[in-house]
């Protein structure tokens, strides 16, 4: 699992590569939480999952936890280029109702 986390304006852009599961999610959770603490006005979460090959409930738990932080600020959550497995997992979990599937991070940055 590899990832990079960067802040652009009020958006947090996370690019993920590999498999996010019980083993890899604690470190990811710590890193993304630290970044959000350092930038308390972050409103939008963009997850670039184009190269993410696997996610299960452990990974979804981390993502939903971050969403709960930005929700009171009126923020939104976006998934860039989700593959069919990831889309399906997001649908079964209901997370698709509170997020948007997009083609690029730029597309979101242009809008918010």
């Amino acid at each position: 699992m590899q990832y990079s986390i960067k802040v652009v304006g009020q958006a947090l852009i996370t690019t993920l590569q590999g498999e996010l599961d019980l083993h890899t999610s604690p470190q990811f959770k710590a890193d993304i939480a630290a970044k959000m603490e350092a930038y308390p006005d972050i409103k939008h979460l963009i997850f670039d999952v184009k190269n993410m090959s696997f996610i299960d409930s452990s990974g979804l738990g981390v993502i939903l936890g971050r969403y709960r932080e930005i929700q009171p600020r009126g923020g939104k959550m976006y998934f860039v280029q989700a593959n069919p497995q990831i889309k399906r997992v997001l649908q079964v979990s209901g997370l698709h109702k509170i997020s948007e599937f997009v083609n690029s991070s730029q597309e979101v940055l242009d809008r918010v």
Binding site: D21, L22, D56, S57, L60, G61, Q85, S93
Partner: protein, 143 residues
Amino acid sequence: METKNWIKLEFPSETVNVAFARTAIALFAAQLDLTLDELEDIKVAVSEAVSNSVIHGYQNNLGTIIVQASYGNGQLQIVVEDFGQGIPDIELAKETGYTTIPQERMGLGLTFIYEYMDDVVLTSQVNQGTKVTMKKNVPNQES
């Protein structure tokens, strides 16, 4: 059922073994004529069951997990078993969103297992352990 092939894995409940288990079972399942989507479903289901054994069954202490897979008569069967603390109320545990660790988990694992597999049997006894038996229909047997 006439079993054509089978495997059995036994490993300690280390989080790093979750990926090993789902990948190994997917490789075994790839002997059958399954679509890539179906293989992904199987990976998620195994990942959820093994993760539950690690997190809830053994509460992050070390214990043994056994994963078995077999196929024959148009079905792939996967059994994930632990000898941990068990589930007091199975019907409640199966409810979407029910979790005993609400601070960090979403109560989705069992929902994924039931959604992604064709037939699931969950049995458990407090202080003895939990066994998840899940089946996927494979109309065309071997590839």
